[in-house]
């Protein structure tokens, strides 16, 4: 008898969770979809950059209020990881903090994936130092190179500019898989290796902690992380040849904060756009709302000029008509 009882308990244990899942699956229909109107339903697969993620998360959240039956989960595989899935046709929409690379375009072509890219917002890559750092008033591109490149690297701040303290520079940088690093690499490092003693992290909060922990530290990341940590950090005005410019909504939008302001993209599979109505609705909704959502305080990016969104909506409409 006891043996039977024990086996029963074992069986119950292993199936307990399963039963629970089935029960809720059934009750969910009753709780959440009490009005049985025929609403548009569908599934959209969205993946890609973690920098763009906050915008798309906000879009998905608002989108759900309008289309409650459409499932639009967002993944964070990174720009490169997202494209890898996108060019195989595994995802409908891929977020990116840099344009698609040649290699990725080639892969898409081989798999016969046609796509369209849309700009969502601007980000100003912010170079930041500690709040208590009072000697840096601005940095030129050459000085940035001295600080971040391995070759001929500056050991102390005095090596960067005369008169600055003779203290060791501590460098913090996003990980090499991130689109943010790619962009910095493109514009400042120009393909040459980053200094080896730099501390790398995929988690931007680690970088914030690192820079806010030392008076002689410097780092860079997306504008949103600077905006949320203004009490601990100071953005360094960058002199791109036309005088020092500090990153803020105005200078990023106008392109005056150059060369470190960059557009954020989302790529959509044309096939999905035509065959899956939910994908079309989602992109339309994104273009209508991305500016407002991206520039809200919770997210901290900069909206494109209004007419850019309108232009892109037109492009979207023409795509579907074809």
């Amino acid at each position: 008898m006891k043996i039977k009882k024990m086996m029963k308990v074992a069986f119950l244990l292993s199936s307990f969770v399963f039963l629970l899942a089935i029960i809720t699956a059934c009750t969910n229909d009753g709780v959440f979809n009490s009005d049985k109107e025929k609403m548009e339903s569908g599934r959209i697969k969205i993946d890609g950059s973690s920098t763009v993620f906050p915008i798309m998360e906000a879009v998905s959240e608002e989108f759900r209020l309008k289309y409650p039956k459409v499932e639009a989960p967002v993944g964070i595989s990174g720009t490169g990881g997202g494209f890898e899935k996108f060019v195989k046709g595994e995802t409908d929409i891929s977020n990116a903090s840099r344009p698609m690379k040649k290699k990725e375009k080639k892969a898409a072509k081989e798999n016969k994936i046609n796509y369209t890219s849309f700009e969502l917002a601007y980000d100003g890559l912010s170079v930041v130092v500690n709040k208590d750092n009072h000697f840096i008033n601005h940095l030129t591109i050459d000085e940035l190179k001295k600080i971040f490149l391995e070759k001929n690297k500056a050991k102390t701040w005095a090596d960067v500019r005369k008169g600055w303290p003779n203290r060791k520079i501590e460098v913090f940088s996003p990980g090499t898989d991130s689109g943010t690093y790619d962009y910095f690499d493109d514009v400042i490092l120009q393909g040459k290796p980053l200094r080896r003693d730099a501390e790398l992290s995929e988690n931007d909060n680690i970088l914030v902690q690192g820079v806010s922990g030392s008076k002689y530290a410097i780092g860079f990341f997306g504008f949103a992380y600077y905006a949320a940590n203004k009490d601990k950090l100071k953005a360094v005005p960058i002199d791109g040849g036309r005088g020092p410019v500090e990153p803020d909504a105005e200078t990023i939008k106008s392109g005056k904060y150059s060369p470190l302001s960059r557009p954020l993209f989302t790529y959509v599979n044309n096939q999905s756009l035509k065959t899956n109505k939910a994908v079309y609705d989602y992109i339309e909704f994104t273009l209508e709302n991305a500016g407002r959502l991206a520039s809200s305080d919770d997210i901290g990016y900069v909206a494109l000029p209004d007419e850019n969104y309108k232009k892109q909506l037109k492009i979207l409409n023409e795509l579907v008509k074809k």
Binding site: V74, E90, D204
Partner: protein, 287 residues
């Protein structure tokens, strides 16, 4: 002379005791500080709303409902599968397989697999379940990948449990004319069950906390629905927590701590269950 030696040995004895105590206290205090910190950070965020809400970009409205159900769905695939296959493998290896080169080879591989980093299983899952089988980034792919992660651990634990069943019990059963199958199901398994269950639950606890393999197969970061089937997209608790820690806003770090508290409670309950089951069945099988 002898007196001196005894004194010295006693001193060494005391020193050893002190060192081991220190090691224990060090481990416990690190754990204690960690738990305290997390509890202080997260306690004000653990509310009923937090548990029953979907994630949101506003921290006040954000919750872990989707992550909890994602975890349950993945476990609903992993637990029955890994238990059945794992115990089946252990029974085969211990009771049926002859100790040939082949069996030793399998045995060695299983022991090695138990030590393979979980991200490797994630890559395997991505290739087989997501791409080759075409199940995509779904509960099914996630659950099967997790099954791969915990299977070797369960097999090893179940084997150890079966090994401890006294030979006399089996021989008595055979002497009564029972077949191997009858002996296994009526004698060996019941006696080994406490050990098997403990091992399984500990392995499952590990699976609940795993992030890496699920990130690789493409679990989502923002999910605002409860999975409605095996092919549904999903997220799990550790991924939701990881996602919140990467946010710039402080409040989300509080939410992450709150998520960790919920995850810890679930793990504590499961470990408690493991201990309770072990004690219960150990007592009954001796009577």
């Amino acid at each position: 002379m002898i007196h001196k030696k005894v004194k010295r040995r006693k001193a060494i004895n005391h020193l050893a005791k002190f060192m081991f105590l220190l090691a224990t206290l060090l481990t416990l205090s690190v754990l204690g500080i960690l738990l305290c910190q997390i509890f202080l950070d997260g306690k004000e965020y653990v509310t009923l709303d937090f548990i029953t809400s979907f994630p949101s970009r506003f921290y006040e409205k954000s919750g872990i409902w989707a992550a909890i159900w994602g975890t349950i769905w993945v476990m609903a695939v992993t637990i029955p599968l890994s238990f059945m296959i794992g115990v089946g493998t252990a029974i085969y290896l211990e009771e049926y397989a002859k100790k040939t080169m082949f069996a030793t080879f399998i045995q060695m591989n299983i022991a090695n697999l138990a030590g393979v980093p979980s991200i490797v299983f994630g890559l395997l899952g991505l290739t087989i379940f997501v791409r080759f089988m075409g199940w995509g980034q779904s509960v099914l792919s996630g659950g099967l990948t997790m099954t791969l992660v915990v299977l070797p651990i369960i097999v090893v634990a179940a084997q150890e449990a079966i090994k401890t069943v006294p030979k006399e019990l089996k021989e008595a059963s055979f002497a009564m004319g029972a077949t191997k199958w009858q002996t296994t199901i009526h004698v060996v398994l019941p006696a080994a069950l406490p050990g098997i269950l403990t091992g399984t639950i500990l392995a499952i606890s590990r699976a609940i906390g795993e992030t890496a393999p699920l990130l690789v197969i493409g679990a989502m970061a923002y999910v605002a629905f409860v999975p409605d089937g095996l092919l549904s997209a999903f997220t799990v608790l550790p991924i939701q927590i990881f996602n919140w820690t990467t946010r710039p806003q402080e409040e989300f770090h509080g939410l992450a701590a709150a998520g960790i508290i919920v995850l810890m409670i679930i793990l504590f309950i499961m470990n408690g269950l493991a201990i309770w089951l072990r004690n219960k069945f150990q007592n009954t099988s001796r009577k």
